[in-house]
Amino acid sequence: MSVLYALLFYVATVIFVVGMVMKIRQYWNTPAPLKIPTTPAPTTATGVVFRMAREVLVFESLFKSNRWIWIFGYLFHVGLALVTIRHLRYFIEDVPTIIMVMQPLGVAGGFMMIIGLIGLWTRRIVVERIRYITNPSDHLILLLLVMIGFSGMMMKFISHTDIVMLKTFILGLFGFSIHDLPLDFPLLVHLLLVATLMIIFPFSKLLHAPGIFFSPTRNQIDNPREQRHTAPWTRNLDKL
């Protein structure tokens, strides 16, 4: 079992990393030939950095649009961030104090994540407009995330797993040596689902994460009159 899981994580990591690198490279290499920032837009690069930061850190556009989606979406993402930070202690030999101090926050994050997800899911089922645009895959991704959250919470509150053993297993993976994994059901489910998430990431709507940084309506500077903006293929069409 330990070997199986070790392999699973190697495969998942390779798919995730290679998939994301290829996608990001594709986004990077595709030109944005025209200036299309949604105005009013910043007129300087610093301004764009701030705009992007507001989008990524507080979901500014969503906030303007729909308070419910914002609340649930924000709860989920902040929860996820806190949980991720909490998990760092399983990956680092000598855990820095800051991560230790943040452990309880990570638990709160778990609750935020699950509440957010259930809120979003409820809206997806109850609000007719959102139900209309939903595909089966949208439900499955929610199911996956909710189950990751639940299986994780189970280990915290119901059936603890041997954390020391788990950490030995994980740190072993970095050195390509396979140690025993505690064979607890919630842990095995949790790890399986996380690996699944990593595998589907580069092939699904989860690409919104890198995508937002490449969105021309958000990342372009509003200066088309001052600076001529071109792409290689548009320059090729310029004939004197």
Binding site: I36, A41, R225
Partner: protein, 517 residues
Amino acid sequence: MADFQVPEYREYPGAPIPLQEGATAHLKPFLAKPNHQEQLGFPGELVENWEEKAIAKMGDLLNRYRSLRVYMDACVKCGSCTDKCHYFQGTADPKNMPVARQDLMRSVYRRYFTLAGKYFPKLVGARDMTREVLDEWYSYFHQCSQCRRCSVFCPYGIDTAEISMAAREIMDSIGYGQKYCNEILGKLQTIGNNLGLPGKALESTLGEFEEEIEEDTGLPVKIPIDKVGADILLITPSADFFAEPHIDGLMGYAKVFHEAGVNWTLSSYASEAANFSMFIGSYDNLKVVAERIRKAALDLGVKRIIVGECGHAWRVAYSFWNTTAGIGSGGDEPYAQALQKQLDHNYPIPQHICEFIWDLIQKGKLRFDKSQTDWRTVTFHDSCNVARGSRMGNYPGGQFDIPRNVIKAVCNNYYDMDPDTIKEKTYCCGGGGGLLTDDLMEIRVKGALPRMEALNEVVKDHGVTHLAAICAICKAQFAKILPYYKFPMDMIVSTHQLVSEALVMTGSTQEEELDEE
């Protein structure tokens, strides 16, 4: 008056709208004739293996436009944009929800360009490119005015306009284009304007306007055309030469130019600011049309270029002219330099007519008699393309302030509409994006609902009598649809019509009367 029902004002415009599947599936514009298609370099009619060709074209566009590439992938179906489109609000057809409109293409994208869609089409809602899909595309991608309201509210800035432009380009490339846009673009490229008005006809029309202004002011105000050596080239939508209330705006510009004492001209070769190439997503045509203006500027030797009141034209001029034709500043390539070294970069290039006049007003160069417009109470309609696709002045949001400042400088009675319906959240008039054609009347009327509701509110609350605009399409659309909502058609006015009404020109009869009092 119509063979469809004009929507009723909603009691709570924010309340959820029960979906009516297929409510406007029957609406589609006339198909372009072979000659309309061919003159733009598209196949005359639906090509044989169009399914394959369409997919190949989609692949080509995915490689050329980062917007399309990222937007196909990034949508999480959060639903934030679903109730933001005026066409959805006016029709309740779920396919008019921005994300559902994108999904018409995204479903095909997923089928042919993603692993998930290749192997699990049902799971991710992927579809083959079939006749039904094409029909849906033709219908619903012509029920999008590319106003970008949805993109304001999307957490990733997904712009449905980019997707409907790409869809139209794909349809054009397989011989399935829209008559209205393509026919007009043909006229523009052969004659010089959307109307197909030749230079001679134009000259005589302008002569009539000159007489009218002289009668009114007692001054020999000129509207020069093809004047070599002029400093300023005015590029304005050709509707300004013949339609109401556009004409009054044009006479307004002429009076302002005269009063400012500048040396300006129109061009018969480039007698059109509109550039419908944007609506059909065709970079090639966008460039061909913009290059007419480049050529006119070079031939006439002008130093500045000013653009008249038109929404999408201002977006094209402001955002795309520099890229497509080197009309602007800061271009190093020889192609851009050829024109740019002749231009005077102390002024913005291109400059919006509202920027030009606001500058004069701030310098105290114009005199107004605001009592002349006291019989009006005015509100302002932000054109979608100006609001969300361009700028005026030197700070973000200048496009909202400058036209309002100009109106307030000439009118005492001004009120804004509901803040959720103006500025960056403005609603399209309902006729933008290549929809301003009689064969799409139903969607135009229905799509105007949110704007009409907001207008109705200020009419009731503040006694607003006139709706000012800075867009040829908005003006034509409102003149047509206001009566459907029981407003008089002459409620819509040009912004420079208001300027013209209040302007007191040096040496004019108005000045004499005013100074006698």
